[in-house]
């Protein structure tokens, strides 16, 4: 495992849906960057956020706690937080936490975008 460089890109903003691609290790700094960008997108009216984690292999509990801040902010505006392309270990981590009760989880980005775009 290398110390993967963290990257965050907003790759799509269609109406109420915004898609962020996240690559690398999600720790405190990366989690904070995601939270800041998510708050900006929410303020701009994107109530549905999709986090594409296909290039993320490891996340720590501090990064997770910052994702929970994002989830809390989205739930406050009756929005939707979704994840796609999770590695098996991150999927298991989210399952341990019970995250699927509050966030939507998709196998891939295409199915996520289709489902979220049609969701009111």
């Amino acid at each position: 495992m290398t110390v993967e460089t963290f990257e965050l890109k907003v790759v799509r903003q269609d109406g109420t849906l915004a898609v962020m691609e996240i690559a690398g290790y999600i720790n405190n700094e990366a989690g904070e960057a995601v939270a800041v960008r998510a708050r900006e997108l929410l303020a701009a009216g994107h109530r549905k956020l999709l986090l594409d984690l296909r290039a993320t292999r490891i996340i720590n509990s501090i990064g997770i706690s910052l994702l929970l801040e994002v989830l809390e902010a989205i739930l406050e505006v009756s929005g939707t937080l979704a994840f796609c392309s999770l590695s098996p270990s991150i999927a298991k981590t989210f399952q341990i936490m019970g995250l699927a009760q509050y966030a939507r989880i998709f196998d891939d980005c295409a199915s996520a975008r289709t489902a979220l775009s049609s969701q009111v």
Binding site: I62, L75, K92
Partner: protein, 140 residues
Amino acid sequence: MAETERVRLVLPLAPHAELLPAWAIEDLGRRVGFSRDTLEEVKLAVVEACLNALEYGGGNVQVEITGFTGARPRLEVVVEDGGPGFDPGTVPAPRLEAKLHAKRKRGWGLELIRHLMDDVVIRSRPGCTRIEMTRFQEGR
């Protein structure tokens, strides 16, 4: 007869120090025959143990990783720190619903470790906390 290989590390107080044991886990785990997915779960657990030790351990964190081949291939990881210690029995299991409404959303580390590893033993007293974690290649 089982063969063992062992790596010992002293973690520096440096950014991403919690990731350093992952290299050894990858190497020993592959030799023991672990799948990539299982190794990633072990790494996540050990990252959590190291984060706790680095945060509360007073700056002296040691990690020992042992790979066992033979009848029950497994990885054993011990993370030890010299911090003030804690009573693991008093650490509540986190609940997502409560965390969503709480100011402090952290506190997932031990829960994740317990679910991602097959056996976890925590021995803690003032001056020494050891988290002993085992993951078997074929499950418990």
